[in-house]
Amino acid sequence: DTLTVYTSQPNADAQRTVDAFMAANPGTDVEWVRDGTTKLMARLRAEIEAGSPQPDVLLIADTVTLEGMAQEGLLTAYQSPEAAAYDPALYSADGYYHSTKLITTGIVYNTGVETAPVSWADLKDAALKGQIAMPSPLYSGAALIHLATLTGDKDLGWDYYNQLASNDARAKGGNGGTFKAVAAGEKPYGMVVDFLAIRNKAQGSPVEFVFPEEGVSYVTEPVAILSTAKNLEAAQSFVDFVLSQQGQDLVLEMGYIPARNGMGVPEGFPAREDIKLMAFDPAVALQNAEANKAKFAEIFGAE
């Protein structure tokens, strides 16, 4: 009895998730593949094109991608009993996907700088001209969601991005590259996902992470079952497992903010109540995805 999972969790995390699941469900073997969301999706697309998708379960970065797959009819709906303990904004009403954790995007800066920003608006400061890095929505799903969230905010909007552009912010590559640029001091300020900065800081990287006043955008590492799943039963128990109290404790241990209500936060994070999440709707984001990318490319002159 095997279950195949594709996940974009970091290696060690993926291993722990799988181990814990197998311990809880003896008799089910889990085959898993870990890779960046882009590569995983490319692989999955090729498998679908060739008529033989391999995974039963996806556990990948963002809801927008899954929303797209749901609309194409590639996912199976499953109303998990655990969903009751979650904010309805965090799962698809039809049960196509359920969020498992909150990965927020905030501001990171190199401790070698003089002024510490506290809000998104601070990055518009002309003093920071040429010193900001952020991931590009053309390459990163999280960055696309971040873009959709910030431009959907009535105070920030596209104006904010226009101003960042005129402040020579560099919006290239993914989160990893952005973080390195900040840590290396090449661009001392950046927008980046929380755990990268917080974990590395704990190990001594010269960086500081800020949850801006306006709130943070977030991706949720949702879990979903493919419509072609060969082992539906095990897939459903996997979904239940990651959403369960036990699964969410694991998330917490790994250093992420669990999506389930009433959980704590990992070390180095402010209290859950103090983290302000900005509003976000995956369906709208999916609908605007191409337009957003095009507009972004135009503003930032990316080719």
């Binding site: 970091p10 290696n11 085959e31 898993w32 593949v33 870990r34 890779d35 960046g36 969301t37 882009t38 590569k39 490319a42 692989r43 697309r45 090729a46 498998e47 679908i48 094109e49 060739a50 008529g51 033989s52 391999q54 927008v64 991608t65 797209g68 194409e72 190199n110 070698g112 700088v113 040429g130 010193q131 590009s136 053309l138 390459y139 990163s140 799903g141 560099r170 290239k172 590559g173 990893g176 590259g177 973080f179 390195k180 840590a183 290396a184 001091g185 090449e186 001392p188 990268l196 590395n200 190990q203 001594g204 990287s205 010269p206 999916l286 995805a289 990318k293 002159g301 990316a302 080719e303």
Partner: protein, 567 residues
């Protein structure tokens, strides 16, 4: 123009050619064909709509321009460095050749991403080196390598060994007396190189340039690390960007872009062929010793120059890599109190994947090199003797799988092999799909150098063996293979080194248990474990160096000229 048709062949040769050619075509061209089908169908229907659509986008145009520009100039850089080294090392009385060659092989061994990483580390504001020199740019200063120039420089450095290895094998075949004849006619200095040595090694040089160009064209790691931050996209990064997009149309678009890269590569190869058409140079009865031209008073300055170059292109980035692997977290400056081997320990001994990956990569790359050599030696030789139309067509297309970005080839392999026709079996998820992908990808790398050297082979060598009754198999084994051994070894070494830390193909093809080293490094880096990634990359370099040393020990039992760093 000489047609290249020589008689005295036999039916067994025709049969063998057909057989080997079929294998080679099945291995290399079917994935490409499958991809082509993907590009020209929408749904189940033939349509050119997607092609015109993708080709008319300005982003495609600029990426194409950038690709041509960086690959072209990058090749030039490799040519200057690698070619210069090859000439000096193979033909002159330099001292310490072995060490020089040894060092020159190393850039090939470092995955391109890592090369780019280490260079950005030593050139950026947090560079330990620049900081100690007091030359570090201020925080926020632009990284000079994030530019077209940076890409060109690093592509050039990365592929130096390719030009070097292919050319060196060829230079060794130049008979001494031909050059002596020129010297006694009063030819001196550059003229000797330009008018005698260069034309004689042209096949090797051209082969080197062609492979380098194609490699540079398909390189993803360097433009990804340096180009994406600069907003400078090449075709491979554009493909990556497309893959990051959403929706079912992605694969088709990617296929079209991949075909575009393929077209450029073929164009390059055809161009090379046209330039070379008249240049069938058989080294008539070459039994003489290889050359050793005295450099005279220039020797010391040349040696110093070469070693400085080696330091710049090898030692500095390696030091950067080493420094990164020794700190507890990325960005922590390297000081006596921060040095730790923790990540080495973690990467090498805690992660169970690492040992597996070493084993997989080792077997895959050795296996690919061996199988490819077995295919390419007879193939190149037979194709030279019987240039049938099919053989010529194949000759212009071999480079395709190598030119395509690895991701694309991987997609093609998945499309092709996930369901084997007529069976329930699948290769997908096994190590064999990676192996087949490697065969497809690296055939050109093995084939071109061998082809270049066999073109020069005096046909009488084979005829003499025929006249004593040696069968085809015996001739290939005892005459053709040893005579092309230096080039075949160059090819095998190139294949081994590139496959050993190959990333982009295996990235989509691995599954648990079949990880390769490249995948492990990438995953570590991608999960933010840059320090561990550096440690692993560094340990790969050490392992390969150890392997090279082992080869060196057995060098005396191998045919002459096979071990490149053995002079």
């Amino acid at each position: 123009m000489q047609s290249g048709i020589r008689f005295g062949g036999s039916r067994s040769e025709d049969r063998l050619l057909a057989c080997v050619l079929l294998i080679a075509i099945a291995v290399t061209l079917t994935p490409v064909l499958r991809l082509f089908v993907e590009g020209i169908t929408v749904g189940d229907q033939l349509s050119l709509g997607r092609i015109t659509d993708v080709l008319s986008k300005p982003s495609t145009h600029s990426a194409l321009r950038h690709s041509l520009f960086t690959a072209g100039l990058g090749t030039l850089v490799s040519l200057v460095i690698g070619g210069g080294f090859a000439f000096l090392v193979a033909l002159t009385d330099l001292r310490g050749k072995g060490a020089l060659v040894f060092c020159l092989m190393i850039p090939m061994m470092i995955p391109p991403q890592i090369t780019a990483l280490s260079w950005t580390q030593i050139m950026g504001p947090s560079s330990v080196l620049l900081r100690t020199l007091g030359m570090a740019p201020p925080l926020g200063a632009p990284q000079p390598l994030y530019s077209a120039g940076g890409i060109i420089l690093l592509l050039g450095v990365q592929h130096t060994s390719i030009v070097f290895l292919t050319l060196r094998a060829n230079l060794r075949a130049i008979p001494q007396d031909v050059v002596e004849a020129a010297r006694i006619s009063g030819v001196r200095g550059l003229r000797l190189w330009w008018q005698i040595v260069l034309p004689l090694c042209l096949p090797g040089l051209m082969a080197g340039i062609a492979i380098t160009f194609v490699t540079a064209l398909g390189n993803f790691g360097i433009p990804a690390m340096l180009g994406i931050p600069a907003g400078y996209s090449t075709l491979p990064t554009l493909i990556y960007q497309k893959l990051a997009g959403l929706g079912p149309a992605v694969l088709g678009e990617v296929a079209v872009l991949a075909m575009l890269i393929g077209a450029v590569a073929i164009l390059g190869i055809v161009l090379q062929r046209i330039c070379q058409a008249r240049q069938v140079v058989h080294l008539v009865g070459a039994v003489s010793r290889p050359l050793e031209i005295p450099l005279g008073r220039l020797r010391l300055p040349v040696e110093v120059g070469l070693w400085l170059t080696v330091t710049a292109i090898l030692v500095l980035p390696l030091l950067g890599l080493l420094a990164t692997s020794l700190v507890p977290a990325y960005g922590v400056p390297l000081r006596p109190d921060t040095v730790t081997l923790a990540s080495w320990q973690e990467a090498l001994f805690r992660q169970p994947m690492t040992a597996r990956a070493f084993q997989n990569s080792f077997l895959l790359s050795i296996g690919a090199a061996a199988v490819l050599m077995a295919i390419c030696v007879p193939l190149a030789w037979l194709m030279d003797r019987h240039p049938t139309r099919l053989a010529r067509l194949f000759d212009s297309l071999v480079d395709l799988p190598y030119a395509l970005p690895g991701v694309v080839l991987a997609i093609a392999m998945i499309l092709l092999l996930i369901k084997l026709p007529f069976t329930e079996a699948t290769l997908y998820g096994t190590i064999w799909i990676i192996f087949l992908a490697y065969l497809a990808r690296f055939l050109a790398v093995m084939f071109r150098p061998i082809q270049a050297s066999l073109r020069q082979l005096d046909p009488a060598m084979n005829e003499a063996a025929q006249s004593v009754g040696a069968t085809l198999f015996q001739r290939v084994r005892t005459i053709i293979l040893p005579l092309s051994a230096p080039s075949a070894a160059a090819g095998a070494i190139l294949v081994f080194l590139t496959a050993f830390n190959e990333l982009t193909v295996s990235a989509l093809l691995w599954s648990s248990g079949t990880e390769t080293l490249g995948v492990v490094i990438f995953n570590l880096d991608d999960s933010g474990e840059t320090v561990m990634a550096s440690a692993l990359a560094m340990s790969i370099v050490l392992v390969v160096v150890a392997l090279m040393a082992a080869v060196q020990l057995s060098a005396r039992r191998l045919p002459k000229g096979v071990v490149p760093w053995q002079t």
